[in-house]
């Protein structure tokens, strides 16, 4: 297990999704959309029918349904301290599929309604997490090792 929690900049090669991550810091959930066919896609990339020309970022409802979920019990060399308990695939209302952490009381059920919340995982680093709709106790739940929102991101990313 590594102590380094990955940040968005660690897992992709360029800044194509920079607008999305900036919006997360403002607690706005964006999805990229093709203006030629109205298809919503995530992460950033070209439309399979119309290429990159018509792609723009638009505000999404932040609501969706649970497609599948799992809990990683095994410690892999690339597992990190403070990883979320449950990870999931969500189908957004706009039709795009996203991978996300899932905060949920009890056993998740496929098809259940979820909505986005935002968790600060480091200094200026905010990632979306999906939660059971209407459960404020769940919305406030933070996975172990994740500090509350604020300027102190210390302890998350160790040297």
């Amino acid at each position: 297990m590594t102590t380094f929690r990955p940040y968005p900049g660690d897992v992709v090669a360029d800044t194509a999704d920079a607008v999305f991550w900036q919006a997360c810091r403002e607690e706005r959930y964006l999805v990229s959309r093709c203006s030629d066919c109205d298809r919503h896609l995530w992460p950033a990339g070209a439309c399979p029918d119309h290429g990159m020309a018509g792609m723009t970022w638009v505000e999404a409802s932040g609501r969706g349904r649970l497609v599948s979920w799992t809990v990683v019990h095994q410690d892999y060399p690339s597992s990190f301290r403070g990883a979320p308990d449950t990870t999931a695939v969500i189908e957004l209302e706009e039709g795009a599929f996203v991978h996300s952490a899932l905060s949920c009381r009890g056993r998740p059920s496929v098809g259940m309604a979820v909505e986005v919340a935002f968790h600060q995982i480091g200094d200026g680093v905010v990632i979306p997490v999906f939660c059971t709709v209407g459960d404020d106790t769940v919305r406030d739940h933070r996975p172990p090792g994740v500090p509350p929102p604020g300027p102190t991101g210390e302890g998350v990313r160790e040297p």
Partner: protein, 387 residues
């Protein structure tokens, strides 16, 4: 046209954990065994497809082909390499193509004393999965776990459906000399008591990396008749990609065999699922067997669990499957686990669990990453005697 690509040589090095032999030496041994099997001289190899490598150490292997290149699409690579070999044959670029894979993940081979420092290990597939890694989704098991959770939820099945796959494959591995599960049969309760790896996949749902190499020699049907070994032809093949299934929301129901690969393979071979005698499915995790039995049309949706529990994939079943123990209980050589066993079954020379009179064998492979975790290439091939 050169006709259907035909496999005339198979080389299978020892496969297992901690062999203590370097990958290039394992590859060399598999190549030499494949050439001896085919009755060919090494100078006759005019193309080499090197799977899962950047450095093609032809010099060490003693090969001097007219062309050589690397092919990297994980578990789909062996099947794809045979199709690419068919293209080299059809365009007059080669008469005998060697496709070779080999890895030594677990066995440190003896090394010369280094001048400084120590070699560093590489991270096995954390970053390569991109954004899901931000949320702690690590390793290939997690992709199959999402599919397994979806499957069990959708069909109301239990973990016993997964157990049935693991127990069946172990029953084959337990009688196959050299298999990782040799001499160690398991029960459903062994499976249910094994620890959870990535929910709902337990330890006995998962394959582990093994060391080993496999090579095949591919040629045209005309030249195959002159080779020493019993030829095995690719009667039909089909490719598919799970990226389309990601876009249309079906990726977590599929390995990429449906809709395109299965349909194309059967159409080109001119046969249907009912004609297949034996199947060798790429399944590093138990769920992949259930998905493919349905994708290839052997079972209706949601019925694969009952089919396997009822012995349908066992030695006396309708469709003996992964007859060398598969990747769970045999060995993990990416798509060469199913392909090598398929060749042996069609030749009638499997060292154990030979299916009597097996004429048609389905072989599959999945691997690579099209930009989303799980969006890999899939290839299905129907092997049989040349027609």
């Amino acid at each position: 046209m050169a006709g259907e690509p035909t496999i005339v040589g198979l080389g299978l090095s020892p496969q297992g954990r901690r062999l203590g032999v370097s990958r290039r030496e394992l590859r060399r041994r598999a190549i030499d065994e494949a050439l001896a099997d085919a009755g060919l001289h090494r100078r006759q190899v005019d193309a080499c497809i090197c799977i899962g490598t950047e450095l093609e150490d032809l010099r060490y292997a003693g090969l001097t082909p007219r062309t050589s290149f690397a092919l990297n699409s994980g578990g789909a690579s062996p099947g794809l390499s045979v199709l690419v070999a068919g293209g080299l044959l059809a365009t007059g670029q080669a008469e005998y193509v060697v496709c070779v894979y080999g890895e030594a993940w677990t066995g440190e081979a003896p090394r010369l004393t280094p001048h400084h420092g120590a070699s560093t290990g590489t991270d096995l597939g954390g970053y390569s999965y991109g954004y899901p890694y931000l949320h702690g989704l690590v390793g290939p098991a997690s992709v199959y776990a999402l599919a397994a959770q979806h499957y069990l939820d959708r069909h109301g099945g239990g973990s016993e459906d997964l157990a049935a796959v693991a127990v069946t494959e172990r029953s084959y591995g337990a009688v196959r000399p050299g298999a990782v599960g040799f001499g160690e049969p398991i029960t459903v309760s062994d499976h249910q008591e094994s620890r959870m790896i990535v929910d709902p996949l337990r330890l006995l749902d998962c394959s582990r990396p093994t060391d080993g190499a496999v090579a095949v020699v591919v040629t045209s049907p005309a030249r195959a008749a002159d080779c020493a070994a019993t030829p095995v032809a690719v009667l039909g093949a089909g490719t598919g990609h799970n990226l389309e299934n990601w876009w249309n929301g079906t990726m977590f129901r599929r390995t990429g065999a449906a809709p395109d690969a299965a349909r194309t393979a059967f159409r080109r071979a001119g046969v249907g699922p009912e004609d297949i005698d034996v199947a060798q499915l790429y399944a590093p995790f138990s769920i992949a067997v259930l998905l493919q039995l349905e994708e290839y049309g052997f079972c209706d949706e949601g019925e694969a669990g009952a089919f396997v529990r009822g012995g349908g994939t066992g030695p006396k079943g309708r469709l003996p499957t992964n007859t060398g123990g598969g990747q769970l209980s045999g060995f993990y050589a990416t798509g060469f686990t199913p392909l090598s066993e398929g060749i042996l079954q069609v030749r009638g020379t499997a060292p154990s669990s030979q299916v009597p009179g097996a004429e048609l064998c389905l072989v599959s492979g999945s691997g690579g990453n099209g930009g989303v975790q799980g969006s890999w290439a899939h290839v299905g091939m129907i092997l049989g005697r040349p027609r």
